[in-house]
Symmetry: C2
Subunit: 347 residues, 2 copies
């Protein structure tokens, strides 16, 4: 290989290196750090260039690009959603992303984001729970024990100190898998066989289910006063997790209203259903929980700024580590006008 100039190089973080980085930092530290980065970026929300995701839909799934920028750095994520993939031994969701420098337009990080999205989704729920859960919350029901469940539990424990977890899934094997994965990580785990059992006495309910048929698993009369709910599995049009009456009784907090009204639980509600933007709670321009009896609902769908925060964090953390490879992604001729000459001389 020709000696490429340092300007040509972009650091790449593979799946393997992302796992190494996570273990190097520690998964709970990683997610509580990430929660801090998300809070930092949400607090300066108005600086960001916000675009709804750009989707390409087919009969079997969607491929989306989610760009954003704070004026200094730019990020986008590629993410697919293919529910039928699991049956074929493939991931329902895979993702990768890029962080770039706005001033030069040059990419400065390319990273896998399947794992990173799972981590930031946990961190995001932890941020919401920190700001909205009743004081002194110690117990959480985790409804839906699939790929996202462990990340939710660990992030919320790391950020909010909630370590008593009641697991429930319609598939008992999923609950077994989740319980086994969380074993030895500092939790008290209860495996439940019904949603009623799972939510008994909890202060927080986190729902992360993959199937839209799940939406009646929690009915309104099951949800007690004062709880905080994170609903993070409903994240596309036609996919919701909570009965409409629960949404109606809750105070609803969202990331980016134009996106959540299409993708979130509130797609069941009228277009003007009142919502509070979480960034305003974080920077103090809006109130959060108003009373100990209020049911608060974080209707999370995932927003580009969270990916931006995650990429920014990874970019910081890989400096002076072996957890990336440099890849010559940028053509860098000595004379910028002489791209052809560079190719010719390589012959």
């Amino acid at each position: 290989m020709l000696k490429a100039s340092p300007l040509a190089m972009v650091p790449f973080v593979s799946v393997d290196n992302m796992m190494r980085l996570v273990h190097h930092i520690g998964i709970e530290t990683f997610m509580s750090d990430l929660a801090g980065e998300i809070e930092h970026d949400f607090a300066r929300w108005e600086l960001f260039d916000k675009t709804p995701r750009v989707g390409s839909h087919s009969d079997v799934g969607v491929i989306e690009l989610m760009p954003t920028s704070d004026g200094e750095q730019y990020a986008f994520k590629y993410v697919n959603g293919h529910p039928k993939n699991m049956k074929e031994g493939l991931q329902t969701v895979t993702a990768f992303g890029v962080l770039a420098d706005v001033y030069s337009g040059y990419p400065k990080l390319f990273s896998e984001m399947t794992i990173l999205t799972a981590l930031r989704t946990g961190a995001m729920s932890a941020v919401a729970t920190k700001h909205l859960a009743p004081k002194g919350a110690k117990t959480m029901a985790m409804i839906g024990n699939g790929a996202q469940s462990e990340f939710q539990c660990l992030a919320i424990k790391a950020v909010c100190g909630i370590d008593n977890i009641r697991l429930y899934d319609i598939d008992p094997l999923a609950t077994e898998k989740c319980a086994k994965n969380l074993d030895g990580l500092g939790f008290q785990i209860t495996k439940c066989t019904s949603p009623e059992e799972a939510i008994e006495g909890v202060e927080v309910i986190t729902v992360a289910t993959a199937d839209k048929d799940m939406q009646t698993i929690l009915t309104d009369n099951m949800v007690g006063s004062g709880v905080h709910i994170n609903a993070i599995g409903g994240d596309c049009p036609g996919k919701t997790e909570l009965h409409r009456d629960i949404v109606a009784r809750s105070t609803v907090f969202v990331e980016y209203p134009p996106q959540t009204r299409i993708e979130g639980e509130i797609q069941q509600m009228p277009e003007d259903h009142p919502v509070t933007q979480l960034w305003q709670v974080i920077n103090g321009t809006a109130g959060g929980r108003a009373s100990a009896h209020e049911v608060t609902l974080f209707d999370g769908v995932g927003f580009a700024i969270e990916d931006f925060s995650a990429l920014r964090y990874v970019h910081k953390k890989i400096q002076d580590t072996p957890f990336y490879i440099d890849f010559d992604l940028i053509a860098d001729p000595d004379d910028p006008r002489d791209l052809f000459g560079m190719i010719k001389r390589a012959g």
Copy 2:
């Protein structure tokens, strides 16, 4: 490194490997093949999901995402445009792109596209010239001898047999560079010191200038009847290359009208200025050149389908070659619901 599953792997083509691939295939063959792929995709234009590019603008430049899909494959390109970069020793335009499978949502190729865009831009002009130039054209003026000029000349020679080239640039050093690069590649080259001299007796004029102040370099009375013009340097709002009167006198051919009306030469014209879509000329549903006296103008701005064609071609051509590396971009746990377990076990 853990042994990653084949499903986790995505082939990556670096700048170095792209140059190797180009030399392996031969640059003229590469561009005439690419012209064929573009014609193939333009002929089935209506199948494509067409979205205007998604831009993030700053004071000094723009970062754009250009997605498209034919329902079976999906592609997007990241491209920046920063005119001030050259003075700082950086590329004005850098690019990379991804080809993905619509059915699974999985990426199947990640590639540098700074070089690839230069190649496809040449190939695109060659397609337009093939369909619009007067019969038997042998001579071309190449106005603007910067980074794109050699690619234009080689592609048009490879596809249309035009090998008599008259070079002109306001900077004589750029003309020297272009002439030197094309030396020994089968051209008759004339270095000209004025635009009038460059276009004397030519059948084709290709204009690829980087500066918007160039727009008066060709005035209407200089352009003779019957010529074909490729105007490819004007590719963003506020940047045009041709005097309005030339556009007014020409029959205008474009890629995707909603984009060209904002970015192309026709941004100078009324919103309903008549244009013909090149894909219709290619598949025979619209006429091309109507007479030997007509001035035809290809108002090229670059469209996502051309990048799609280019990525599709590279993906085909790298099979069974050493011109890529496999990179574990996809997290592929044995059980798709057990992403966390995969990370835990890697510790």
